[in-house]
């Protein structure tokens, strides 16, 4: 289990409270699908996901973005139980959706860069380090049922 100092918890909350789930939810897919287009393999029935404009206007992706960020919100509120929160999601992504877990790492990078555009210099090197420690722990929890 990952250990968090009070300072780290404060930093993560500080970043998270600046994230607009609707705004970031759409933008993160634009970055992920354009920069890593092989991710399209998981979105066969999502319609047009091939240009930034189409992605930003795609209601299915907007909805999924909210789902992903709501799961992150749960993590922010439950910093000491990621394995517990993500166990069934991990199993679902492995057994049903069959997602290559490397994509969790790529999506985490896209989330950080999207947040960087918003927070700008507030995402100092130390804040970035703490935020990425948080996302790495989430990614690890999402990997946990791949066995």
């Amino acid at each position: 289990m990952v250990k968090w100092t009070e300072e780290e918890r404060r930093i993560i909350r500080g970043v998270w409270e600046k994230v607009d789930i609707n705004e970031v939810g759409a933008q993160l897919w634009a970055r992920a699908l354009i920069v890593y287009p092989w991710i399209e393999r998981y979105f066969g029935n999502f319609g047009d996901i091939f240009t930034t404009t189409a992605i930003l206007n795609n209601p299915k992706l907007a909805a999924l973005g909210k789902v992903v960020l709501s799961a992150l919100d749960t993590a922010v509120e439950n910093m000491d139980n990621f394995k517990g929160i993500y166990a069934s999601l991990s199993r679902q992504h492995y057994e049903n959706i069959k997602v290559d877990p490397d994509n969790f790492r790529l999506l985490a990078e896209c989330i950080t860069i999207t947040i960087a555009c918003k927070l700008k210099a507030e995402l100092s090197p130390q804040v970035q380090a703490t935020w990425q420690k948080f996302l790495s722990a989430v990614v690890e929890a999402m990997n946990s049922q791949y066995k």
């Binding site: 920069v35 555009c117 700008k120 090197p125 380090a129």
Partner: protein, 143 residues
Amino acid sequence: MSLTAQDKGTVKAFWAKVVNKAEDIGADALSRMLVVYPQTKTYFAHWKDLNPGSAPVKKHGATVMGGVADAVAKIDDLTTGLLNLSELHAFTFRVDPANFKVLSYNIFVALAIMFPRDFTPEVHVAMDKFLAAVALALSAKYR
């Protein structure tokens, strides 16, 4: 994942927008890398100060971005164009090539912060392909 003519055009156009801030981008990217990926500090044990924004970090950030500028100019043949740098990285620096990706990522974070409207997904993917090609050219002589 080779560079298309469109990629090259995107990279050149974006570089023209950011070139005046290249030193700041380099300093910020390097500062971030050393803090967020502390294992990279092992290459800089000879520096007096590894903290964000220190003199050696700023100086080296400028050096790295000078290399990137050179690569933009030689984008049509990176392997030939970056030959000297490639030999330097292979025989002198011997940087584990996994670190090229780490630095590239931190360059993207710096770009997102300093140019949030210009660092669009389309620019991001072209720059990612470009820096990957640069990394490949830099590690060409490794073995």
